[in-house]
Assembly symmetry: C2
Homo-oligomer: 454 residues x 2
């Protein structure tokens, strides 16, 4: 009995000491990020000097070259490119669109969705069928839809506290609206922008065509434009819509994931990934989506080095290519990892914006999640309260099949869709402190993952 | 035994049912705020149509008239003004300031601190003593300081996670710097702006003179200006500083707290206050500070009415006057409450900006705080995780002497001091969703306070 108590006491003391050491280290991580952080200036360069970087574009290649050079300058143990073939879609000339209500012509802001085909060179003008759901559309007679433009106008649900849930509830319109409309003979599909705000920017994003269905052009319309179109149709169901776009899909292009690593001192074969995606939409500087995630990931490794923390396991910062319209980088990274029999114990992604930290979503078994729970008191002082089952991240998703536990960094979601996939996703909308706190939060998690395993 | 178990079961069922009812009501509160919220448009009017509203100004009077009218339009049971005499300080003509380094003259942005005296009409030019702390200044020989301008240049500590802590650690320079400098014979005091960002806006705020010490003029300098001045002095300790300001303190002016209430259906004599302050600095639209708190407070009562919730206790929205430079409104409100033997069981203040909700700070006894703990699971789904001992709010502070439990609404603090007391504290920096979530959070707390008492 006495022995058991002694043993128990030793264990408790050990646990308390470990927590104390960890809390001191985590405090140092945040101090470093907030006092000497580099992520903000890196983001300035990526957004202001490089700018838009859609897969296959010159901007994407510049971003590859620059992040590689940046990680080399940081003195990481290894920096390399990983080849990946990516879709190469180009917007072409700026789109045109207007509502024709009797003789009144009102120009509205639209932008072709990524992957869409062009309209004929003279554009498309047609009557409009407004729907709020696929069910509503599917219930219609093809006669009614044929030759028309289908206008998908279901807003994101404002009552969802986490805006990503509202996005998930509306984004099928953007992804599959053209296919649903084409099935009934429509000649085009116009999609209400995925945002809770009333603005004049089309919020673009990817779409896909189902096989065997005519490829009809599709574009996002700004929410103010959508409201106007809806109001106009309510007043005059015979109002028409015109749009013209010149986008096209070129042959796949060669591009790269950019990888930098600090080699593990004890278990170099066990890998922890921290990443974001390097590509952005062509209209966007891609500050929150996902320049923030890229610079935060590099910052994680910089912080570890700056504090002299020598990780036991190998820590890799990965800038994935092509999250926006293909996910080829994420798929390729996991394929290579599998082929090389690499053991990825955990992957952390930041792709929800450079906002103030709230927590981490975890994709793993209940046992794996249970190992993380004791860390919660260490992270709570930094505003990280929401740590539990959730989503990881699109790019790290393919690693799940390798048994990797996925962590999605969860910043506050309220403003994300104000900027998402628009020309206003700019550097100026990022708060330096919020960005730095995000990087520090990821570094703290990586530190704990490395120290304790999973 | 059987009886005890039955009784226990009944209690548990009752508790679970109550929690369920509460969770449904709270969900409705958030739905109402996010679907039909009015606070954002109210804030637009208050900031864009009325604008700056320093105590004693025409803007302040307009804000009094408008919020009274607004609450009357909402059909609250009683809306009234409460007289209060307030300090009346005016800035006068725009300040001028420059650094003189040899023959090089560099203009820098300054703004007189509220309560400061003017410089002589021709301004003051003098050598500069830069210090980081009062201790450093006090250790100096008066000979060194006499006739000089003291430059207080201690930045806010960037490593504080909550920026209000960093503010608290630096703001004595602004509040008491002039007095400390005057004690050693200085002719002026220039204070580094209270912000973590590097910007070109002087962040103003209140200051006070100790009795028996010469009144010397004092102003805030932008952080970029402060950095430049510091760098210049490091290169050339003989560089001088010139500033000219024309502010003055006029006789106290008559103003008002604006009060609207819903009368309690069961215990009308028990009062719950929810409030913010109506005055702002003269250079600022006062969107975050504290237009947000005002419109959120009115929104709390509007939400209760819209949902048909008839509070047991009397719920009062109070727009306090003069938080910024005197706190006369808060003091007057508590004085009147005391005189009238009013029983204020709780007071909730929002004066930390219209940012995404994080929780509530509580000022009360451990027993009172313990009553709030069971509500935490009801509020956690809305991002309110930080509920515990903390600060209430300046305006409701004087109610503490009446035994009122104080709650300070705690939004995320990261961006607050980017805008605080400057011309960039504008409507455009407020996120509609963040503002609405704040109002809903306050309404949820008020609902629980009313239902359960304290």
């Amino acid at each position: 009995m006495k022995k058991t108590i002694t043993l128990l006491l030793i264990l408790v003391v050990h646990y308390v000491q470990a927590q104390y050491t960890d809390s001191v280290t985590i405090r140092k991580i945040y101090d470093e990020a907030l006092s000497n952080g580099k992520s903000y200036e890196w983001l300035r360069h990526l957004t202001k000097k490089i700018g838009p970087r859609l897969s296959g574009s010159a901007g994407a290649q510049k971003a590859v070259d620059w992040t590689k050079q940046l990680m080399e300058q940081q003195g990481f143990d290894r920096v390399y490119l990983q080849d990946v073939m990516v879709p190469h879609w180009v917007r072409g000339a700026k789109e045109e669109a207007y509502i024709l209500n009797g003789k009144k012509k009102t120009v509205v802001p639209i932008a072709a969705l990524g992957g869409s085909v062009a309209t004929p060179p003279k554009g498309i003008g047609a009557g409009v069928i407004e729907v709020k759901s696929f069910a509503e559309l599917r219930a219609m007679s093809p006669d009614k839809v044929k030759g028309k433009i289908v206008f998908f106008n279901r807003p994101m649900d404002p009552t969802k506290i986490n805006t990503f849930e509202a996005y998930a509830g509306a984004v099928e319109q953007r992804a599959n609206g053209a296919t649903e409309a084409a099935r009934l003979g429509a000649v085009g599909a116009i999609i209400r922008s995925m945002t809770n705000v009333h603005d004049d920017y089309p919020h673009v994003g990817g779409m896909r065509y189902a096989t065997g269905v005519p490829l009809i052009p599709t574009a996002a319309i700004s929410t103010n434009g959508a409201d106007l179109l809806s109001k106009t149709l309510a007043e005059n169901p015979n109002a028409t819509f015109f749009f013209k776009q010149n986008c096209e899909t070129l042959p796949d292009a060669k591009s790269y994931n950019v990888v930098g690593e600090i080699r593990g001192s004890e278990k170099p074969d066990e890998i922890i990934v921290v990443g974001g995606h390097l590509d952005s939409w062509d209209l966007a500087e891609g500050a929150h989506d996902d320049g923030a995630g890229c610079v935060q990931s590099i910052e994680v490794l910089r912080i570890l080095k700056a504090l002299g923390i020598k990780p036991k396991r190998t820590i890799r910062a990965v800038m994935f290519m092509n999250e926006e319209n293909g996910l080829k980088g994420g798929i390729q990274y996991a394929d290579v990892a599998k082929k090389n029999n690499e053991k990825h114990i955990a992957a952390v992604e930041s792709d929800n914006g450079g906002f103030t930290p709230r927590g981490f979503g975890i994709v793993g078994t209940p046992e794996q999640r249970a190992k993380v729970i004791p860390w919660k008191p260490l992270l709570a002082p930094y505003g990280l309260h929401e740590i539990g089952p959730g989503s990881g991240g699109a790019d790290i998703g393919p690693l799940a099949q390798l048994g990797t536990v996925l962590f999605g960094f969860k910043p506050d979601s309220q403003r994300y869709f104000d900027y998402h996939h628009t020309m206003v996703d700019t550097f100026e909308t990022v708060s330096q402190r919020e960005l730095e706190l995000g990087g520090a939060s990821m570094a703290a998690l990586v530190y704990l993952l490395d120290k304790n395993g999973l």
